[in-house]
């Protein structure tokens, strides 16, 4: 007989459910209650583009060390969906566990001999306890959480505490949930082999960290960053970002005396209108943004070119999903890097920011508005579905209240009165950034005509070649200026003598951090640099030059960031080895470690880390 997996505070539980069955909140309750025991978790929703009836999964990685990346493999499958039964059972690791509803008997060939099978008559218990069909469904979820609390030694007091917080003022709901929880727990204690080989134990590794998702974090960043106009069009996986902005604004942005709104949110008729509204507001001096995903970016590209060429501040938060076309709307990828870096016809280059987790979504989204106004150009915050729609344990949000917003170079009424030479596209300070006026500033000075056509330094229409080149070169100078303003890369040095380097960015971060630890433990010294923005800082070139070979890890097929590194940072493509993961699931440490160890042998002679 295969030995069962034994592990304390380090395992993966996956819930297989039907969407629309109310399982999501029960599963999140499970994850949150583990956190309350001081044990880090990282849950992931794997869901279809559908409202009701299709399979959905919730994968919870429990890891005392705090690794947040997806691990791969499943130790305990909570199989609640007959539709996906076969695949779900197959996914369990050898020696793993299967928990299922055995109200209806299943033939033996539906199981595996190398796993521990735990059946519980959930439906029968529900039918015996509740008469209302909706209650039967909803409480079934809580009952299995109760059973898991016994099987995994999950502290029922932590769950009850969460109920108390959730149902404050709704005591009837509180009592019925507690009752369902104990119904499941008591049954398991009496009838099931509690505890399992995998189990929990109180720890102290959560600290003051917060548990939140990237979309609401980015929305909050926009609130703190001073965004007052938001225009958006619903698209998975970014819709919850605009909705979170709405709900934060409602709480945090009402004028105290009147209750009126210090913000305007418009749901556009499409992405073209959304970016148009954001650009109009940016042109007129308000901080504005749109939140979207790949297909939205495709639609917005003409407008993005206008904002680049007419030099209008605007922020785009792109929660990337699987492309091209409609692609994989509910799966994750980093496949809009090139589309955003070069969005529009003609020669354009855009500033991209790559947050690694919800905390950086908050920080980068907040900083994007300063950058947009300083650089007078579109700024892209490139998050993805993995960060955007999943809750993560991360550093608490911080904001420096003493720091004023950087409104960039704005020519005021006073300066115009003093007789300042105002040329809308005149490079006064040599950084490529001109001054702008807000419409309505001065009765006779500072007015200008904004256009997407070529213009001279004083915003006058021209089709003269030298004027065009003058303007395009200044825009390049401005892009150069951006390099020192954007978030700088983070270098992780394992060993000063390591010959192998790794470049990674965005949501690859947690998997990479774990992979670095594993590689170090295996004796392979690997240094890493996390790129946090485009254009790239010189640090990236220095890093690559200091290593024999550098892996570039990306979640897309075409090595999009590598393309930018080669064409823009002028790095030698022969030195850059792409490691690409793009099946729509989040990249794992296992994948990175496997690929690096396989290929490291061929690129450099293996050497033990010192």
């Amino acid at each position: 007989m295969t030995p069962s997996i034994t592990s304390v505070n380090d395992f993966v539980v996956k819930f297989a459910n039907v969407n629309g069955s109310g399982s999501a909140s029960a599963n999140e309750l499970f994850a949150r209650s583990i956190l309350r025991m001081g044990v880090p978790v990282s849950p992931r929703n794997i869901f279809p583009s559908n409202i009701q009836g299709l399979p959905t999964w919730y994968e919870v990685r429990v890891n005392e060390k705090g690794y947040q990346g997806r691990r791969g493999g499943v130790d305990l499958m909570v199989a609640m969906n007959p539709q996906t039964w076969d695949a779900d059972v197959k996914e369990i690791e050898t020696g793993g566990y299967l928990f299922y509803d055995n109200s209806k008997e299943l033939p033996p060939h539906k199981f595996r001999p190398d796993i521990t099978v735990i059946g519980m008559p959930l439906t029968n218990i529900c039918n015996a306890t509740y008469t209302d069909p909706r209650q039967r469904q909803l409480f079934k979820n809580i009952i299995y959480i109760g059973a898991l609390s016994a099987l995994l030694e999950l502290d029922p007091a932590a769950i009850e505490q969460l109920f108390t917080e959730q149902y404050k003022g709704k005591e009837a709901l509180l009592a019925s949930n507690v009752k369902a929880l104990h119904l499941g727990r008591d049954y398991a204690l009496a009838n099931l082999p509690c505890p399992l080989g995998i189990r929990l134990q109180p720890a102290d590794n959560v600290g003051n960290k917060i548990f939140t998702d990237g979309n609401s974090a980015a929305a909050l960043g926009a609130v703190y960053g001073g965004a007052s106009v938001c225009a958006w069009y619903p698209i998975t996986p970014s819709s919850s970002l605009a909705e979170a902005f709405m709900s934060y604004c409602k709480k945090l942005r009402a004028e105290p005396t009147t209750g009126k709104h210090r913000y305007a949110i418009v749901q556009g008729e499409d992405e073209l209108a959304s970016i148009g509204i954001a650009i109009g507001a940016g042109w007129n001096g308000a901080r504005s943004f749109t939140a979207t995903s790949g297909p939205g970016i495709s639609l917005m590209t003409e407008f993005i070119g206008l904002a680049y060429f007419a030099e209008i501040p605007v922020v785009l938060i792109n929660v990337q999903r699987g492309g091209p076309s409609t692609g994989m709307p509910t799966r994750t990828q980093q496949s809009d890097v090139l589309a955003c870096a070069y969005a529009s016809h003609g020669d354009t280059k855009h500033v991209l920011l790559f947050p690694e987790d919800p905390t950086e979504c908050f920080e980068f989204s907040g900083a994007a508005f300063d950058l947009a106004e300083r650089l007078q150009t579109p700024i892209f915050v490139m998050t993805d579905l993995d960060i955007g729609m999943n809750t993560r344990l991360c550093r608490p949000f911080k904001w420096d209240e003493t720091k004023a917003y950087d409104r960039g170079k704005v020519m005021t009424y006073e300066r115009l009165e003093e007789g300042a030479d105002f040329g809308r596209y005149l490079d006064v300070e040599g950084d490529g950034i001109p001054y702008r006026t807000y419409p309505g500033t001065h009765p006779t000075k500072g007015g200008y005509f904004t256009r997407g056509t070529t213009k001279d330094r004083y915003a006058r229409y021209t089709e003269a070649g030298p004027d065009y080149i003058d303007n395009m070169q200044r825009l390049l100078q401005k892009f150069e200026t951006a390099k020192s303003l954007v978030p700088q890369p983070v270098v992780h040095t394992t060993s000063p003598s390591a010959q192998i380097g790794v470049i990674y960015y965005g949501s690859t971060s947690p998997a990479m951090q774990e992979a670095l630890d594993v590689l170090t433990a295996q004796g392979l010294a690997v240094n890493a640099i996390r790129i946090r923005a485009y254009p790239f800082a010189q640090t990236v070139n220095d890093f690559v030059n200091a290593h024999t070979s550098v892996f570039v890890i990306e979640q897309n097929r075409d090595a999009q960031l590598k393309t930018l590194l080669v064409t823009d940072a002028k790095l030698d493509p022969a030195k850059l080895i792409s490691l690409l993961h793009y099946d729509g699931t989040p990249i794992t440490a296992r994948f990175i470690v496997d690929r690096i160890t396989q290929q490291a042998r061929t690129v450099v002679p293996l050497k033990k880390a010192s």
Binding site: F211, V223, A227, L252, G280, E401
Partner: protein, 351 residues
Amino acid sequence: MTYLAKPKLHHPSLVKNQAGYTRRDYEGKISTLCAGCGHDSISASIIQACWELDIQPHRVAKLSGIGCSSKTPDYFLGNSHGFNTVHGRMPSVLTGANLANRELLYLGVSGDGDSASIGLGQFAHCIRRGVNMVYIVENNGVYGLTKGQFSATASKGSKSKRGVLNPDEPVDLVGMALLLKATFVARAFSGDKKQLVPLIKAAIQNPGPSFIDIISPCVAFNNHEGSTKSYDYVREHNSAVNRLDIIEGRDEITADYAPGEVINITQHDGSVLRMRKLAPDYDPTDRIKAMNYVQERAAEGEIVTGLLYLAPEAADLHQYLNTVDTPLNQLGASELCPGTAHLEAINASLR
């Protein structure tokens, strides 16, 4: 004449309006459009309307899309900020600009290709959102800059300069504006400035989306026989329901609804419109009847012009969104950033 620089000298005897500006202060660059273009008459009418209303030119934001009509904002109100956006997307940019600063006057200038073809969606949605603006379509039924293709407002069966018959039904922008509850809807003819100037003035004074469809013949590509947008055709088929004049002041004046007589309508800002009725039974405050009337006359081949609809009650997007009175672009960190105490509370709620 576009190679000539426009003289900047102002004659000292030029009359100033109450805001202290002469008519010349409302002008822009010299037009680059064809001699005789209807659009230039519209620019002149906008200049006159703004001058007569004592509007400070720099408090106007003029936005347009792409096309001949969209070039015109460069030819009036030279001290105003202008924005020549992308084709068919002026309405969204105007909406955003308006959200950022509710205190300016927003003038959207577009064409039939820009608003009825590529931009039909944005045209419709900015009206149904109730954006406070004056939206002018300089409607000639043809693409001028690309040399004479039909636009979506060209009548079915009308003939292009090359002799092709238009196979498609036209989009009626006035009908759509009425349907989507613009608060002010008018149609005018660029060749009749006396009718047009008061309509523009009334539109400026009206809150919410004010729409004017101005038939503006294209002398280069759509002024021939067989066109329904030529000077001759429009003159022959123009059927004005009323004529407007504007009276300043807030004195209440009793309306006289006798057919064919003059009636006074008090606008939302207190100014009074004096309207001479030409169609005795036409009531411009009844939206449903207005829609029927315009359609019925159109079926008879008439181009109904005049003030077609004025909403008795008018609100705008800022009211719907309940935004603060201070323009959003004037709010600073003290109003926009909720501060660290709130952030600590949010952190605590996420544990």
